[in-house]
Subunit: 216 residues, 2 copies
Amino acid sequence: MFFPSAGVPESELGLRERKRLATERTIERAALDLAQEHGYEGVTVEMICESAMVSPRTFFNYFGSKEGVFLGNTPPRPTPEMIDWFVNERPSTTLLDLVELFRWMMSTRNRTDPETMRERRALIHSTPDLAVREFARMAEAETELTALLQRRRDAAGIEGSDVFPDEPRVVVLLAFAIMHPAMHRWLENPDDASQETLIADSLSMIRRIIDEPTHS
Amino acid sequence: MFFPSAGVPESELGLRERKRLATERTIERAALDLAQEHGYEGVTVEMICESAMVSPRTFFNYFGSKEGVFLGNTPPRPTPEMIDWFVNERPSTTLLDLVELFRWMMSTRNRTDPETMRERRALIHSTPDLAVREFARMAEAETELTALLQRRRDAAGIEGSDVFPDEPRVVVLLAFAIMHPAMHRWLENPDDASQETLIADSLSMIRRIIDEPTHS
DNA sequence: GTTAATTATGCAGAGACTGCACGCTTTGCG
DNA sequence: CGCAAAGCGTGCAGTCTCTGCATAATTAAC
């Protein structure tokens, strides 16, 4: 299974697009630098704009909110073809497919360079306010995937749908639980092991936890 | 296992406390009514205050933020005794204890009457902005519980701590996945079955999903 | 009844964010 | 090249959430 990772090379972009990318990155850098110095709360949009030499209005045109510049632009939504593939072409064995889809949505985030990404993650995780927002984004993705699973289930005409009406959501939560340690370790040590291995480890760990003896 | 469910009966409260509760409820009602009419975005704090006949400053003294009045006050944190009990007195079998603790934190929310609670839930779920915040609260609870588990593990001196450094978080995610369908069904139909049964059902469903054949 | 703690309120102001209008740059096309 | 259309950057005015501070009123405690 292969999902494409991104679009047009930057070199063959129009002048307009290139300028846009440049100011976007300038603003991001200014924001990140200032936040590392003063903390998230200690930075105002005005400060960022002064440092990046753009007007506040322009800032909001680019990022929509103060948090936006720190969280990065929203991860790509699954394409219609992928949705179709996922809903119609697969057997009803859901969990690992979902993990796969999830992984794609998380990894193809954006075209920011790795160093900036790392700084950003550090900032987010050390700022409760931002961490909460990051989580909210995860929740959005979660909701979206839940809807997708529901559609697949409807398409396949699974029998017990009325007995376990919220099975899709649980599957998503589980997929998330599986992804979490794998992604975590992978971010810390990209060459440590293949993602497949990490996921397999994670899965066996979860099996062990679930099968733990249940002391009355 | 038994956790106390609430505090002092309202009748034997000082005048000051009773007044405070009264205005709190007045503001809540005003907010809820206005939001049902105009939607969350369509309501300003000023409108709520006018309707409840308090000053905006008082509103923020009570709820701290506009969302606060719609989400309800934060669920009670676990008491120090409970934390101690959880960290030190229990064997290392974690999952079901955690579910129990989780259930307590969710159920003892507040002393608002059920009808208001229902309206509030409806509003939250039909307002993306509020739904996100609700999720954020869950995330906070999750973080807190993760830290608790970590402490328990340190106290017990579990061996494989460095092999599975983020097992605590995964356990919390799993507990959450277990709680989710149970809580959902329980909110819809409180007398349908005991919470224990619901949780057992949920657990078996999760086992089934995890043990699903993994096609290639 | 006097003193101390709580509470309600007004006020001033910071800071995030939006709609609108205007001028400049890039683009596409003949 | 020249010209029109589209897109972009900007200033401005204004709304709204939220905070610190000072002050007056209320309740509690002795």
